[in-house]
């Protein structure tokens, strides 16, 4: 062991300690609200600081899992409490610890009812998110992975908008479908191999046609989470009804769990099935990119527009991952990290004007560049990030995934690349309608520019977008060894299955 304390366990469960403290808060409602916010903020900030320790101590050259903790749980089944991180999961943990305090600050004034419960929900969510990315045991993973949904349901259902029940129901139905199939798949996998240890499973892919069935079972769950076309329709509704911070976490972290699942399970454990299904997934990705971009073009609700753009951006991720090329997978991972930041920031931006005017109708805004120049600048940089302008983080992921796709199938690459035109179309349209134009509504004109709290949450995100765009190496060099290892496992699996892939 590299270090002498169980950093991953602390990272995962520290938020629950915060929950405990919040539960102990006493006093009148106002005091409870304030102290709950404070406890949540301090806890999440401390957790973020701790994750930076993780980052610093992480050995970039290592491809294997680091900070491993392993304790027997159910010895009879070889189910263990097994935690560890590698280059693939590292930045998703950081993304989670980074976005939770951002969410808490962003909700500081906009959440007025049941503040204590709200803060508890976010901290529990953080535990499950980090746990998902740390778990190295399939059962443990499943518990965290599905556990995430509970606080998310509650956040949408309690603090959501007018149609929150419908949205939460839809969200539930989709994810239930995926969860059940994955659960069955997981059990079969354990039956077949006698273990739920992820590193062991990665080394020893299951054999025969069973791979196909297991792939499909896991795929169902990950595809819904991603979300891939055509199981994406829960996302726009969930976003529209979720409070701002809920959207931030949903877009920022939850959508990445599907992609992470593909990388942890599908590619290394079911390589033959991955290769077999890859063409289908390419076309689902291409459809996602083109279809949802066109849909985004016609949205009048700004949250819906950004939600649809998320589906398109995730299309690049699935496309990249299933090329099983270095550029494709690294691009997919980078795209997830970048989208986590950009879309989180975009939803925060929507929250900024929503807090002021209480509407997300694009048509109710216009000419904001006049009275909100700082907001306009922030939004401009994020928009450029979203359309994948070189120099922003959005470019690196998109470019690499497409480059990976080109090596595998040029037709797919050509169709997917049309996304760069369509993506620009809806974002520029959104920006033009919100920020430019001569005549503007009186109440929109009266809105004030970003306040100090909004600066505090948005500026770091914008700087991250630029930093990762100009110097993505910091992330890439930590991701690369693990990706290389993953591709090695994938190819070894193909060869063992009697299929040689170039």
């Amino acid at each position: 062991m590299m270090i002498d304390f169980s950093i991953l366990s602390i990272l995962t469960f520290l938020p629950l300690l915060g929950v405990l403290f919040i539960l102990l808060v006493r006093g009148n409602d106002e005091l409870v609200a304030l102290n709950s916010k404070r406890v949540a903020l301090y806890t999440s900030l401390f957790n973020f600081a701790l994750s930076l320790v993780l980052l610093v101590r992480f050995d970039p050259a290592q491809a294997d899992f680091q900070f491993v903790e392993k304790h027997t749980w159910f010895s009879a089944f070889d189910i263990a409490y097994h935690m560890g991180v590698d280059g693939i999961s590292l930045f998703f943990i950081l993304l989670s610890t980074f976005l939770v305090p951002v969410c808490i600050i962003a909700s500081w004034n906009s959440i007025k009812t049941r503040v204590r419960e709200y803060m508890i929900a976010f901290l529990v969510l953080e535990t499950f998110m980090i746990g998902t990315f740390c778990a190295l045991d399939a059962v443990l993973f499943y518990i965290f992975f599905e556990g995430v949904l509970i606080p998310m349901f509650i956040i949408i259902g309690v603090w959501g908008g007018a149609r929150r029940v419908y949205s939460a129901y839809k969200f539930f139905l989709y994810t239930l479908l995926g969860s059940v199939l994955m659960l069955v798949g997981l059990l079969v996998l354990m039956f077949q191999t006698g273990t739920s240890d992820i590193p062991t499973l990665m080394q020893n892919p299951v054999v025969g046609t069973l791979q196909m069935w297991l792939f499909v079972a896991f795929f169902a769950s990950f595809a819904v989470k991603m979300p891939m076309w055509p199981v994406h329709t829960w996302l726009p509704d969930a976003h529209v009804e979720a409070p701002t911070a809920g959207s931030v976490i949903l877009a920022g972290v939850l959508l990445k769990m599907g992609g992470y699942g593909f990388l942890r399970f599908s590619l290394p454990m079911f390589p033959l099935a991955t290769e077999f299904f890859a063409p289908v997934i390419f076309w689902l990705s291409v459809i996602a990119i083109i279809y949802t971009s066109l849909v985004a073009l016609r949205q009048s609700d700004m949250k819906k527009l950004i939600a649809y753009s998320s589906v398109a951006h995730m299309g690049f991720v699935t496309l990249g991952i299933f090329t099983a090329t270095t550029q494709g997978i690294e691009g997919g991972i980078f795209q997830m990290i970048s989208h986590g930041i950009i879309s989180a920031a975009l939803f925060l931006c929507v929250g900024v004007v929503y807090d002021r005017l209480h509407t997300r109708e694009i048509a109710r805004y216009g000419g904001l560049v006049k009275n909100m120049p700082k907001y306009a600048t922030v939004f401009m940089i994020l928009m450029l990030g979203s359309v994948g302008l070189p120099g922003t983080s959005g470019f690196v992921g998109e470019f690499l995934t497409l480059m990976g796709a080109f090596q595998v199938d040029t037709v797919v690459a050509v169709f997917a690349t049309t996304g760069v035109v369509l993506g620009a179309a809806y974002m520029l349209m959104l920006y033009r309608r919100m920020f430019f134009g001569g005549k503007l509504p009186k109440d929109a004109e009266a809105m004030k520019d970003l306040n100090a709290r909004e600066h505090l949450v948005l500026v770091p995100l914008v700087l991250m977008v630029l930093w990762l765009g100009i110097a993505p190496g910091f992330v890439m060099e930590r991701v690369a060894p693990s990706v290389e290892k993953l591709i090695g496992q994938y190819e070894a699996g193909l060869m063992a299955g009697g299929k040689k892939n170039g």
Binding site: F74, I143, E146, I150, F153, V421, F436
Partner: protein, 657 residues
């Protein structure tokens, strides 16, 4: 030095953009102007160093081409991309053109935008553009080139839409960005293809790989094709977008919605020539892809011709010059297509001077006429703004290719090279170019006479207000006019003469050396362009200076043609029906299909069905979210319980494989 030459404009941008409010308009103008001027001075020093101070083969000599690596950018597997500054002969020429014209435009803008409220923002955007353009020309790999390429696109977008209270300006800026993105779609695919086939995106490595395997084939969209042709055509698609070549040109005339200094700098002198630069930079690849060169020639020739026809019929002074820009870019492209890369860059440089001069001159006119751009409402002002008048004449004569002005040297060598190519498309380009030369001179004279001569057609109020521009605007014009007069004569030998300085920065295969062959074309080929230029000027002067009623009659006689030209060959209408409307239509269809089809058969359908049967799910639909969460927990508990049961039963997992 290379670093500061490229990055000073960036510093200017950052300072003016972030602290514009604190330093005031004067401060912002000062930092941006000085940033760019320093860059211009350093670029000129680099130019002299690299072109004239070269070690002539002795490696490491001070003036040799060099590449300075700043830092790593993207590394993914075998693909490695650095932030780097490549300084060779081609680059220093471009750097000088960009930074010198940009300096003139910066200074001019201080005067031109004196009535605008957002001076700091305007100046900072100009500097941002200059930085991106310099990054483009100094890049040593395709990805950094793409960075500059899209960077200038964004700056252009911001500046076209600078007056964002105008709906037309906003529409134009979005159109410019999107049409350029269509080109970038090709460019991006070209980069992918280059990496796929040759495993590198770094110029030198790529060119070496190309040289050693020029016949490589690749599978592209299901066909086995000549790799270099595919790569070149994809890259050329990008060039067509940025350089407004026929097909992807529709954004350029609309881009005139931006303030005039922007039109001068971005949409005439520099950004639109990025495509020419790209093809010239890739001469070591295009040389081995004759079919791609043929396409470049034909597209260039058609662009030169079509744009000139439209230019003759427009009334907006800026649009006339915009179409003339497009036409001149066409010349540059067919020059590239016949392997006369040096000639293309030569015309790029002379054009930058005289076209920036024309635009800024037009800006001076517009400024004087209280923001009037319609030439039908001008006339009779030459005595009131004599300096502008003379400068516009100089620019126009250079554009028309009248001897001893800059444009004469560069346009002549292009036409001769096209003729000397001795291919059918070279000859086609030659005749298209000759026809365009006639029309160019004609609309130049038309512009001058409609704007400056005849009876004043503006209101008395406007006419009383007509005034010569202040020195801060005229000085840059004069500097540019020096270039428009002398640049051709001075640089002829170096760019296209017998002592060319290009060395390894341009590759021309011996059998393709049309610039050399251009010296041996028949006498009439050499003289025809001059005759056409003089004839065009004369015609224009007669029609718009003397027999004022005649043009009206001509348009009636040639009504179908006039209609075609005046409506810009209906490209906009065609694209609207072919692309914009279908995109919106499918957007609507898919929005509906999400609701009706996917949800209909999916969650909503399930809900309805279950409601019918009074099942459990209907209760969920009306129940509280907490219940759903409860179900999840129950599920998880069930999982764990199930395992415990299995344990207690002492069940053993079957093991296989």
């Amino acid at each position: 030095m290379e670093f500061y030459a490229v990055f000073m404009p960036l510093f200017g941008f950052l300072l003016a953009f972030l602290f514009g409010k604190n330093m005031g308009d004067k401060g912002a103008q000062l930092v941006t102007c000085s940033g760019v001027i320093i860059s211009a001075v350093l670029s000129c020093i680099l130019f002299v160093e690299v072109i004239y101070g070269g070690g002539h083969g002795h490696h490491g000599a001070m003036g040799d081409p060099r590449t300075i690596t700043l830092m790593n950018w993207i590394t993914s597997g075998t693909m490695q991309v650095d932030w780097a500054l490549r300084v060779d002969q081609l680059t220093v020429v471009m750097m000088c053109v960009v930074s010198v014209v940009s300096s003139c435009v910066h200074v001019y803008s201080v005067g031109y935008m004196s009535h605008d409220k957002c001076k700091a923002r305007f100046m900072s955007y100009l500097s941002l553009f200059t930085f991106a353009m310099l990054m483009l020309v100094t890049s040593d790999n395709l990805v950094q080139l793409f960075f500059g390429w899209e960077g200038v696109g964004v700056a252009s977008y911001l500046l076209i839409g600078f007056w964002n209270h105008k709906e037309s300006a906003n529409a134009a800026s979005v159109k410019a960005f999107l049409v350029n993105r269509v080109g970038d779609f090709g460019l991006a695919l070209g980069i992918f293809a280059a990496f796929f086939v040759f495993g590198t995106v770094q110029f030198d490595a790529l060119f070496d790989a190309v040289k050693s395997a020029p016949d490589t084939m690749m599978n592209f969209i299901g066909y086995e094709l000549h790799a270099l042709t595919v790569i070149c055509l994809l890259l050329f698609m990008g060039a067509m977008g940025k350089s407004a070549q026929l097909g992807l040109h529709t954004w350029l005339p609309d881009a005139m919605e931006g303030p005039t200094p922007v039109s001068a700098l971005i949409h005439a002198a520099t950004m639109v020539t990025a495509g020419v630069f790209l093809v010239a930079r890739f001469s070591p690849v295009f040389e081995y892809a004759p079919i791609a060169l043929m396409v470049v020639t034909i597209v260039g020739a058609l662009t030169a011709f079509v744009a000139a026809t439209i230019g003759m019929t427009q009334f907006d002074i800026k649009r006339v010059i915009a179409y003339s820009t497009m036409s001149q870019l066409g010349y540059m492209f067919f020059a590239l297509g016949v392997s006369a890369y040096g000639a293309a860059i030569f015309h790029l440089m002379t054009h930058a001077f005289f076209k920036a001069l024309l635009f800024l001159g037009a800006g001076s006119v517009i400024h004087a006429m209280s923001d009037e751009q319609d030439m039908r409402k001008m006339g009779g002002v030459w005595k009131k703004i004599p300096a502008t008048y003379v400068l516009m004449w100089i620019g126009s004569l250079a554009l028309a290719g009248i001897p001893f002005f800059a444009g004469y040297y560069s346009k002549d060598i292009i036409l001769e090279a096209a003729f000397a190519d001795h291919t059918w498309f070279g000859e086609f380009a030659f005749w298209m170019g000759i026809a365009a030369a006639l029309m160019t001179a004609f609309y130049s004279a038309r512009l001058l006479f409609m704007t400056f001569h005849g009876k004043p057609r503006a209101s008395k109020k406007v006419m009383d207000h007509v005034h010569e521009s202040p020195p801060i605007m005229l000085t840059p014009l004069m500097i540019l006019s020096v270039g428009a007069v002398f640049a051709g004569y001075i640089f002829y030998e170096g760019f296209v003469g017998h002592h060319q300085f290009w060395d390894k920065s341009l590759l021309v295969l011996p059998e393709n050396d049309t610039v050399e062959a251009a010296y041996h074309v028949p006498y009439w080929v050499k003289k025809l362009p001059i005759v056409m230029g003089a004839l065009g000027l004369l015609l224009g002067a007669l029609l718009y200076g003397k027999f004022i009623g005649l043009p009206e009659k001509f348009t009636k006689v040639f009504a179908p043609f006039h209609k075609l030209f005046f409506n810009k060959w209906w490209f906009d209408e065609l694209y609207h029906h072919a692309f914009v409307r279908p995109a919106l239509f499918f957007g609507d269809v898919f929005t509906k299909s999400d609701k009706k089809v996917i949800d209909g058969f999916g969650p909503d359908g399930v809900a309805k069905t279950s409601q019918k049967f009074g099942g459990l799910l209907s209760r969920f639909q009306t129940g509280y979210v907490f219940q759903y969460a409860l179900v999840m927990i129950i599920g998880l508990i069930a999982l764990v319980t199930w395992m415990f049961v299995k344990i207690t039963l002492g069940f053993e997992f079957g093991q296989e494989g």
